[in-house]
Symmetry: C2
Subunit: 336 residues, 2 copies
DNA sequence: GAGAGTTCGGCCAACGTTGTCTCGTCGGCC
DNA sequence: GGCCGACGAGACAACGTTGGCCGAACTCTC
């Protein structure tokens, strides 16, 4: 900035006035300053500025499980959009379900003085006490998809119980009695919620409790495929499968395709190509982007000074039946 | 920090030494300081630190088109992973194909003193001269998927020409003579590259140039569906379609499903569920995550001081034939 | 021509932290 | 017992920017 002042032959103070848009500056002088700024390629150092003005850093942190998962990517996109509308940049990081990594990243963000945090807690036994201080010190946090542990804060959840219930009821209403359920790690809160709601719904429907039809701890696609294969090749295989998240659903479909089997499938989480699959697929659908958007909106209210009691927003689910695509006979085939 | 010093009854400087792990501090004193840090919930302000030490901000910026698109999400995830390995946080933003928005966001990142930039240029006529100064001033930039305009910098591209050529050759080898091509905005560099390579390959194969079988400017799914519908309901409809990116491919499949038509489809960009579709689908595949990873690695080399000539890395493509899933007859159906 | 209003420059301090330098203290060694 | 060296702690300035303040110079108005 000193260089700009020298280049434009004005005082340092005037440069500061110009770059801050103070109106009491002579237009000719302001133009000279702007020209010097352009010539020298000067960019205000917003770190120094924020330090001096004690203003916000205009940055929020988003911690999710895996950016590449379309579910989280949707959340991130919605949050980024909301951040942009609030003139704020978004720092994104993936915890990969590692609580320690989550902790390191969140504290790193706090050191960088983000204005707030959006957090999808890692599934492995996380403890968020360390965030209590940060929240009290003025860095609000909003939790997405999974509630926090040992700290109270705004939370946006999906109505997991209703979603799982509707899925099971959909299947039992169609006469299915042997329903296999596939779950990710139970340490992931939505998984345990979905699983217990599914079990309750099964019981209500009079379906006997069959531990051999419930598999959990399936975090990777190959595990899921193996579990499905094992279920279907056993005695009394299930006539329907309920997959508790989008990755599991893909594993199920892939396994069914490989085995050449056709069982009814319901999956938690909708996805873009769900309607184009060879199999009819019913999904528990909800507005994933809304979770990112609402979470970000809550966060910006907190940043704006809202000190009311922590709120919990629950996103409703709907059951969507994708009929499945059918391939008609080729009409005018080329030689082949 | 002053508060911590008072709390621990030591000097400010000693606190600084402790939080920086300087070894020459009396262990008893260090323990006292650490206790005070914990009691007060002190977190070092890394903005002030970076200001004083003139060190890097340990932050890089990533600007992509749309976080929710799995293609860009993959890039982002790979870049974030690489950033983490370099103890760096990632600021992410979406340009939504708006050059002005891109410019604003990138300059905002520069003001925040990111150590470097990863940029997927917006498709609309962008001009990156404004980055030249930044690059010269020590903020390196690496361009992904699309080359920069009016500035030289490291670039990671996909082998669009080879990919498009292999797609067309795949179809012509199977006897297709009427091949429809669907393209996004031609202002998006990979689109024009893919389209001209496709046209050249068609010509080489002796296919007559048919402007009615080439549609471009299709940025949204409904546009694509309409274009496909129009093509297929015309006289002499194509027997094969080549979609130049993943969104277009979805539009094509969705239109085919709605129309109940079956034509051969090749799509640029692979995607997770490509093998589970009702239609056999051939895709031009490549390692999308590699683009993010290699780009980030190049960037960190530059940040590390590498001043060699700008490099261009081209990611190869392969043609993958997904045979399409087939739904067998239900084996043991429930009543229904 | 005088007073009022406007605009710029310069100085100082401060944001939170760290590098440099200096000084005091203590232990050990001859 | 005295001297030296090492080590630990504190004072000060600086990073780049902005806010507050005052004085100087200029412009406008009556």
């Amino acid at each position: 900035m000193t260089d700009v002042a020298r280049e434009a032959d004005v005082s340092l103070k005037t440069v500061s006035r110009v770059v801050n848009g103070v109106s009491t500056v002579d237009p000719e002088m302001a133009a000279r300053v702007r020209a010097a700024v352009a010539r020298l390629g000067f960019r205000r150092n917003s770190m120094a500025r924020d330090l001096r003005t004690r203003s916000t850093s205009a940055t929020v942190g988003l911690l999710i499980e895996d950016l590449a998962n379309p579910f989280y990517a949707g959340i991130a996109a919605a949050a980024a959009q909301c951040a942009l509308e609030n003139d704020t940049l978004l720092i994104t990081a993936s915890s990969e379900e590692d609580a320690d990594r989550e902790r390191r990243l969140l504290l790193q963000m706090c050191e960088r003085r983000v204005d707030g945090l959006l957090v999808v807690p890692a599934g492995s036994t996380a403890d968020h006490v360390y965030l209590r201080t940060e929240i009290e010190m003025g860095t609000p946090a909003v939790f997405l998809d999974r509630p926090p542990t040992n700290v109270r804060a705004d939370t946006v959840l999906i109505d997991n119980a209703a979603g799982a219930r509707s899925a099971i009821e959909h299947l039992t209403a169609r006469g299915h009695e042997r329903i296999g359920v596939l779950s990710d790690w139970l340490s992931i809160h939505p998984m345990s919620e979905r699983l217990s709601a599914a079990e309750a719904a099964l019981e209500r429907a009079g379906a006997p409790y069959r531990p051999d039809l419930i598999r959990f701890g399936l975090h990777h696609v190959p595990d899921t495929e193996a579990a499905v294969e094992e279920m279907l090749t056993g005695p009394q295989p299930p006539t329907a499968l309920f997959a508790l998240n989008n990755r599991l659903t893909l594993g199920v479909l892939s396994a069914l395709n490989r085995l050449g089997r056709d069982v009814a499938v319901v999956g938690f989480d909708d996805f873009e190509t769900a309607g184009l699959m060879a199999y009819p697929l019913t999904v528990v659908s909800y507005d994933a982007r809304a979770m990112g958007r609402i979470g970000a909106e809550l966060l910006f209210e907190r940043i704006g000074g809202d000190a009311s009691r922590p709120r919990t927003v629950v996103i409703p689910t709907t059951l969507v039946e994708h009929s499945g695509a059918v391939r008609p006979a080729p009409p005018a085939p080329a030689r082949d």
